[in-house]
Amino acid sequence: MSKQKSKKEYDFKAAKELFEEYLEKGKKKTEIILPKDTVKINDLNRKEAINRIHNLTDELIRMILTTGKPSIQLPSRTSSNIIWDKKNDLLLLGKQIMEKHFHSLTSVVDITRLIKVLEIVYNLLTEDIHTSKRDVFYNDVKLFGKQDASDKCIEDVATMLYTTRNSTRVIANPRGGCVGRLRIRDKNDIIDLETLGSGTWPISPYLDQIEVLESDAEFILVIEKNAVMMRLTEDRFWRKYPCILLTAQGVGNVATRMFLKRINKELNLPTFTLVDSDPYGHYIHSVYLRGSKRLSYETPFLATPNIKLLGVLTKDLDEYNIPKIARLPMKPLDVKRAKDMLKEDFVKNNKKWEQDIKLALKDKVKAEIQALSTHGFKFITEEYLPKKLSTGDWI
């Protein structure tokens, strides 16, 4: 590869074919049927969420009046209760139930914190406002001690109400950005994601107020790194190749993953990830693909099961002549992560993916997306991405 500008014209044939296939499938779209041994979670509106809290408290009062020993039951979020649904390719929460007793010395602190968070959630819903995880912690620092404790209770409350965290009105801090051929409604404003100057639209955590209005995009590209996103934005990549670009600057947070899931599903668009060629990059892709273990209870609302790993693959390093100097040796932690990935059922069941991780382990190399810049700053937008999307070279 030379540093000269590419004169080649790419037709994006493979990506377009995938889009046509998805549009056809979209016409017959059916709801995902989850396995019987997994927990069903619903995205609730304000009124429905308030009703669930009323039902839960009614039940607690009934227990107090009848047995005098109230307790709360909720699905266990331990790793032994996380199930990989092979058919839908999702990580889900099983039906193991744990019980927290009000009258037990071991769980009294835990249950007090839990009820405090439940009260906060109830107030947020009745006042029709949102808050952040940090604000919940500061609501009663003495009780929670550390934010980890309040964060855990927030997830417990969502689980015991059998709903998503977004439905509890406790939102994550905005971290992701999006730009490209998409028009959305954010409450009463129409936002054109093509006319944002040199910036991106910060993906709003208030997703209940966001609606997709219009798009002429033909694919979505999820980028691990903000620096690469900036490069593509500066080149106005979406003008030449109709697409939507999105980044979460690392592992996708809840808002970014939920927003991605929404645009992928509503617009039937092929979706690709562009991550570093290392085990952590593969992990980031896997979180978009089938969800994280920690938030497995709301995986159906967060995962994008048809997302493809476009690059940077280990095999790309040779195929695109990335110089040895731009490659990095794998550290022991990388090796461990790669080996752990190989143990995952969803990797074992995807031969191309397994092969690529094995190749990385064999060569003991990794590389950042920016290693592609050794062929020039525009190589990524004018050669690498167009070629991969035209030839269908993805996992």
């Binding site: 377009k16 889009f19 549009l23 016409k27 779209k29 028009r183 409604r185 009463n188 129409i190 054109d192 609606e211 997709v212 209005l213 219009e214 798009s215 002429d216 033909e218 109709p242 509503e266 617009l267």
Partner: protein
Amino acid sequence: MDLKKKKGVIMRIFHKKDGGVIQLIEKKKIMEWPIELPLIFVEFIRNSKLDTYGDPKVKKEIEQYLEEITKDVAIPRFIDVLEGENYEEIILALTRIEELSKKKSKIDMIKPIEKYLDNLFTSNNKEISRLANNISKSFASAERKKKLEKKRKIMKEKEEKFLAGNISAEDYAKARKEYLVLKD
């Protein structure tokens, strides 16, 4: 154009000749929006996006779809509010209608609302009555401009016929007088 009517369909899909696809939110979803938004959305697509779509056939189909949204969703929702008793909502709706009534290209879009203004001219609420009167004046002015335009065309034809000696000076003078009266 794919007219996917089944339950749960969120976007309406338009296929371009070059293989490109344009997706617009389905009409049913717009029904749940705040009252003034459907017209803002229609205007946004018409003014900012329509010309970028390229394919004339698709542009025509989308133009038709936008009219459908206006006729089936935006206007009926305005009417519901105008016939209601919530003054705050009525003022919000009338303010939006007044803005649109000042634009030549938009006034026909809100014409179906005209007959619902009658009861509002004498409303106890002064703001409602003022807005309703302003809108009515805009409708009247637009109507007069339309008639004048029509008459101007006829006048031009008469002039040509008169100069060619095909009509009498009397007929020409009669037409000219009608035109001038309307113009004043």
